[in-house]
Symmetry: C2
Subunit: 148 residues, 2 copies
């Protein structure tokens, strides 16, 4: 039996990563990298825990996927991430030559589009998968943080 | 005796890092992070050796400097890098809130300016320090690679 999973399935896995970030007090963003219907990397934002602005979910997922593949180009991969990538992560995805990026919620403030950064012209971008849930998780996180 | 070093001094240190990258067959870009006249991080491009597109000199230097400082913001720091940062590195520098970035050669092809990405509005940018040497090192590298 060869189950084919859809984008919603893999975005749910990225969302579960975002929930792990939430539980650690990190801005709740999660990502997975998929190749041939299989998850080869999972990561969530760890900027606070690692005291490192570069420790976004996507950056860790890109590094982990490249190690899994044994090469720096993420050929045939799709990255699923709960929030629109920032310009740093868009830049890393650009260099990776990944053919497909799927994100949940848009980030009209610091997303790569608002900042003017670019994905690779050959990268297909799909947005809005589980958008409401991904955005709600962010809103809940920042509402709780403001109360503290 | 409290020697105050100028931008050319620290760019020379970044250039020495770029030379280390060159010797390893890596695209020759080097970076140092300086705070209060002292180098707290040195790095050079290791994308081939680490098979990781995120292993640019600046990214490693930002991570190392944050670990040295014990916090993710590079307050009071200056990053010296031999080549204009790409959009990934500009994005990381943006998040780090670094107050000053000094680069050597411009990258009119994949530099953050050409790509449309942004440094933080509060970041002062100085360019052209050791520009000819930094650019020459890149040209020599790519000329040698084309011959192989």
């Amino acid at each position: 039996m060869d189950l084919q999973f859809d984008d919603a399935h893999f975005m749910r896995k990225a969302y579960q990563e975002a929930q792990l970030a939430f539980e650690k007090g990190e801005v709740p963003v999660g990502a997975v990298v998929v190749v041939q219907n299989r998850i080869i990397a999972r990561a969530h934002n760890l900027t606070e825990q690692l005291t490192d602005v570069t420790a976004h979910a996507e950056m860790q997922a890109i590094t982990a996927a490249a190690h899994f593949l044994g090469g720096k180009y993420l050929t045939d991969c799709t990255l699923y991430v709960t929030l629109e990538p920032c310009q740093m992560c868009a830049g890393a995805l650009y260099w990776s030559q990944i053919p497909r990026v799927v994100f949940g919620a848009s980030d009209t403030d610091r997303g790569y589009k608002a900042m003017g950064a670019q994905l690779h012209p050959k990268t297909e971008v799909v947005s809005g998968i589980m958008e409401a849930e991904c955005a709600d998780l962010m809103r809940t996180f920042f509402a709780q943080r403001r109360k503290k």
